[in-house]
């Protein structure tokens, strides 16, 4: 069964090499750095850190080439992006209200039975909204895949075959961070979900998010003011029942128990894991085997080391 190693950000204080050694992983590596967009393939720092060569799969570049040569597919992808954007806007508008209601209920200094019911109900509404959005996204992707099957696009089918061969020949696959929407989009275009299940995978930051089932965007301190954490996309589900929160120390108000408690309850029974510099989580045969540094959000609004039961 598969090993999946989830790490915190790698650009300031990389721990990839030690994490690989601890997990007993090694050998020829390929990397997915499509989240870096135009910087895709700039692997100098990573190779220096590993003291070993890494082959980039160049998904971003491949997609650009496919789009140039298959304008019909490009137009369809753009149309899908437009529809996804609109779905997200509408979900976001509804989320504003659902989140405001949940916050208001949680802020009540009232432990009466009606208040407790109101709190449960408000969080339930939030969870139902997320679940509905997730179903809509899955349906949307299924429709697209059916309409634009790679079997009918020889260029795309060729690229998919090429990538599957490269991954099959590798001992380990790295999925780097970056722009999570671009990363997901390119990985989905080349059908990498099933292929990745066959190899050990090491992913960090946005790469980790892409491997979970639910990709949640969040930032409590952007210059335009904090937004609501929002369910953004379906991931590839290599790791189940988790939400990964990269850069949580700088992006999340971890000291605010109300916000943290709400986030934890909203995505339960999945666990919300923080991923900061040096953090490491190792899944083996679908179970969390070791954890170092990463923390888990709790229902009561605290944070605990990832491996510790609440």
């Amino acid at each position: 069964m598969q090993d999946v190693l989830i790490l915190g950000p790698q650009f300031r204080a990389p721990n990839l090499r030690t994490a690989l050694a601890k997990a007993g992983l090694g050998g020829p590596a390929v990397a997915i750095t499509a989240g870096w967009q135009e910087r895709e393939g700039e692997l100098g720092a990573l190779e220096e850190h590993l003291a070993a060569p890494v082959v980039d799969l160049r998904l971003y570049e491949r997609a650009e080439a496919v789009f140039v040569q298959d304008p019909e597919l490009h137009a369809a992808c753009r149309a899908r992006q437009g529809e996804l954007r609109r779905m997200q806007e509408l979900y976001r508008a509804r989320l504003d209200h659902a989140k405001a209601a949940a916050r208001e209920m949680l802020a009540l200094e009232d432990d009466s039975a009606p208040a407790r019911r109101a709190r449960r109900s408000a969080i339930g509404a939030l969870r139902r909204l997320d679940a509905e959005h997730l179903r809509d996204l899955e349906a949307m992707h299924a429709r697209f895949d059916e309409s634009w099957s790679p079997d009918r696009r020889p260029l795309l089918a060729g690229q998919r075959h090429d990538l599957a061969s490269m991954i099959a020949a590798a001992a380990v696959v790295f999925v780097a961070g970056g722009h999570v929407a671009v990363l997901l989009n390119r990985m989905r275009l080349f059908g990498l979900g099933p292929v990745l299940r066959t190899r050990p995978v090491v992913a960090w930051s946005a790469g980790a998010m892409a491997l979970s089932e639910r990709v949640v965007l969040f930032h409590d301190r952007p210059p335009q003011g904090a937004g609501n954490a929002e369910l953004f996309e379906t991931g590839f589900g290599l790791v189940r029942d988790v939400v990964f929160l990269p850069h949580a120390s700088s992006r999340l108000a971890l000291q605010d128990p109300r916000r943290i408690g709400l986030m934890s309850r909203r995505f339960a029974p999945g666990h919300c894991y923080t991923l900061d510099d040096g953090d490491e989580l190792h899944w083996h045969r679908g179970r969390l085997r070791t954890a170092s540094g990463a923390r888990r959000l709790t229902r009561s609004g605290g944070v605990l080391p990832a491996g510790v039961a609440a």
Binding site: V68, G177, V180, S205, L217, P223, G225, G227, P246
Partner: protein, 380 residues
């Protein structure tokens, strides 16, 4: 903000005035800033020295006081936290009066009329995103000639293209009135480079217009509105890969440029979904005549008409004004009107005046709200 005599007899130190005068005479820098305000110091032979600044509610000239028989002149001004004011010194010698930059103050702000000295009150810090960042890749500014049927002549429009521009991507468009002034006096190019580099705004194409007759063209002129709302977007769309929706189109301006922005968006609803209106010269009258100069007559005609039937010129408007500006009343008055008509408005008041550095310092709040960048999406 109030003026008062300089605190020469400071009870905290008990230093006699003469001792403090010596200290002031040797200060290398003016003004001296503390939590309560600023103390301006001038050294030199003069019959009188005045502070000249343009602060709504205060006299245009405030007299310095000579310290004893010395050539040291001081003026204490109470200035609230985070204030920023621009000023000159008026030095009177006999029949001669000279307006000069403060010789003891290295901080200057430039504008199309020259430069002013800058007093930064306690707590004010220039935002770091307004300063060049060696790590930020720079965009480029080129110029295109744009034949305008509306104006009956060619206009030259500057175009900022972001670093890593790619034809396969689509970009938002921002059109900026007095665009070259924004570049020169409000560091617009540095700001764009930095905010894009920080992922706070998306890479965008920015068209920079500059009118040869701005007081006329910006004051509710329909031909100019057509140029800005129809001709510029059409030409930019033909030359660059742009996102098509109004939410991806922004129009920006300060002072009369804000009037021109609102007017163009009002005359051509749907052309721009986003407006940045900085210190707009929105003169109006509820009854009778407005109280400004004749230059404002066409502005007031437009704003009065706009107030009667505002419609929905844009979906979102970022509006800002300095509280030391005479225009604060007009800008405040606009906010409830816009909101009442279903426009999302963010309104920002700051302790600053009608100047380019005020407008520079508001760019992050305006642009990140109107054009949120991929920061939300990027997890390196």
């Amino acid at each position: 903000m109030r003026t008062s005599p300089p605190p020469l007899a400071d009870p905290a130190t008990d230093d006699p005035p003469a001792v403090q005068a010596v200290a002031l005479a040797h200060t290398a820098r003016s003004p001296i800033v503390d939590a309560g305000g600023v103390t301006f110091v001038y050294r030199g032979e003069a019959d009188a020295v005045n502070l000249r600044c343009w602060i709504h509610g205060l006299p245009a000239a405030q007299a310095f006081e000579r310290v004893g028989e010395t050539d040291v002149w001081v003026l204490r001004v109470e200035l609230p936290e985070n204030s920023r004011i621009e000023y000159k010194l008026e030095v009177v010698r006999g029949d001669e009066t000279e307006w000069i930059l403060d010789p003891l103050n290295p901080l200057h702000a430039a504008d199309p009329f020259g430069a002013n000295s800058v007093a930064q009150g306690h707590g004010y810090v220039r935002p770091d995103w307004t300063l060049p960042d060696p790590g930020a890749r720079g965009g480029t500014v080129d110029e295109i000639a744009l034949p305008s049927a509306a104006l009956g002549e060619d206009r030259h429009v500057g175009v900022y293209v972001p670093a890593r521009f790619r034809r396969t991507r689509r970009y938002p468009l921002l059109v900026v009135h007095d665009g070259y002034d924004y570049l020169r006096y409000a560091n617009l190019q540095v700001v764009l480079d930095n905010l894009i580099h920080r992922l706070e705004i998306p890479p965008m194409i920015v068209a920079l217009t500059q009118s040869p007759d701005r007081l006329r063209e910006y004051a509710g002129d329909d031909a100019h509105a057509r140029f800005v709302a129809v001709e510029i977007p059409a030409r930019m769309q033909a030359s660059f890969p742009l996102q098509p929706s109004p939410a991806s189109r922004g129009l920006m301006g300060a002072s009369f440029g804000a009037v021109a922005s609102l007017h163009a968006a009002w005359r051509h609803p749907g052309a721009y979904g986003r407006l940045v209106l900085q210190s707009g010269s929105f003169a109006f009258s509820d009854i009778g005549h407005h109280r400004r100069t004749a230059t404002f007559d066409p502005v007031a005609r437009f704003v009065n008409e706009f107030r009667r039937r505002p419609g929905r010129p844009a979906e979102r408007i970022h509006l800002s004004c300095g509280i030391y500006e005479s225009l604060i009343y007009e800008n405040r008055s606009l906010v409830p009107l816009l909101r009442h008509h279903g426009i999302e408005v963010r309104y920002e008041e700051v302790r600053d005046g009608h100047n380019w550095e005020n407008w520079r310092d508001r760019l992050q709040a305006a642009l990140t709200w109107l054009f949120p960048g991929p920061l939300w999406m990027v997890y390196e």
